[in-house]
Subunit: 204 residues, 2 copies
Amino acid sequence: MVRGNTEVTPKDGLTTRQRRNQPLVVVNHGGGKGKSTAAFGLALRGWNQGWDIGVFQFVKSAKWRVGEQTALEALGRLHAETGEGGPVEWHKMGSGWSWSRKQGSEDDHAADAREGWTEIKRRLADERHTLYVLDEFSYVLKWGWVDTAEVVDTLRDRPGYQHVVITGRDPHPDLLAIADLSTEMVKTAHPFDKGQKGQRGIEW
Amino acid sequence: MVRGNTEVTPKDGLTTRQRRNQPLVVVNHGGGKGKSTAAFGLALRGWNQGWDIGVFQFVKSAKWRVGEQTALEALGRLHAETGEGGPVEWHKMGSGWSWSRKQGSEDDHAADAREGWTEIKRRLADERHTLYVLDEFSYVLKWGWVDTAEVVDTLRDRPGYQHVVITGRDPHPDLLAIADLSTEMVKTAHPFDKGQKGQRGIEW
């Protein structure tokens, strides 16, 4: 919660306002909790600014529905009804993306992931959203489903004012290298260690 | 996003359901970003479960209003109107707490912090909320405004099903010791390093 304390005064010829309003690439990584939760918390914050929020979950189970989806979609409806906050779109890979007519292949997660990235690339070019959450996208790069160099180039060269938040373990070094803000979540204690299973409201 | 993978099977005589539904003490600490953001993200998740959410911000500026407050309060209103999700209360120390008639002293943050903790203790005894977020509470212990042993005892002996999330740097070791789940947020890259100031939607 530091506000306005800078360690270095940059010589980039930008005004404070210009510098303040730079679009960021944010990476939440590490083996601890809070990577996705903090990303969805940023979406909450962005909603309040009236930003157009696009969440893209690169998860395999279509049945999985986290509480944040329901809550953020409720805020999106509130925006549609009252104008408060901003619009929210939430897309999940599952077996096939919601924008796609074709049923995604149950087996071919690589193809589904590529389709997701292609759509995100299109939206970045169109400046469709202000904040993109690419949840668990690091794995898509790790497993080679999408070319890392292409992702890095696309993010680095994206037009306009678009923030992109990427979550997941083991982010590719080239991705970390272009991150303006990256945080490693490190587990210091976790109930799973004591044999406790994940619970409603805490884990999803 | 691990669901149900445990490393140890505990011999505590509890069923999986009992174990699953254990109330947790969660501590988000470290010098990186995402401590509060992840805590508010958990509140979002809890809201979706219909939990009663109480947020207590131990911050000094009354003028400070993070986006999450507006968004979570909007969700609280939605609950009041439609029954969806759960109720949300958001209290901020500022200069005096909102429940208090007396104007808090501009100077005596210690007294304000103690008053906040006394109220939280009362609510824990009454089982008022399901999820408590004590934002930046670690500093209250660090600066000796509230007795750490008393906090540890109160949290450990709290009745019923009440989750408590505490954020802030340098948590007291005794607090960490009773945490069921603790995560250290470690900065790996941050725009402040490049001389960029905090920006709307990202920092607040």
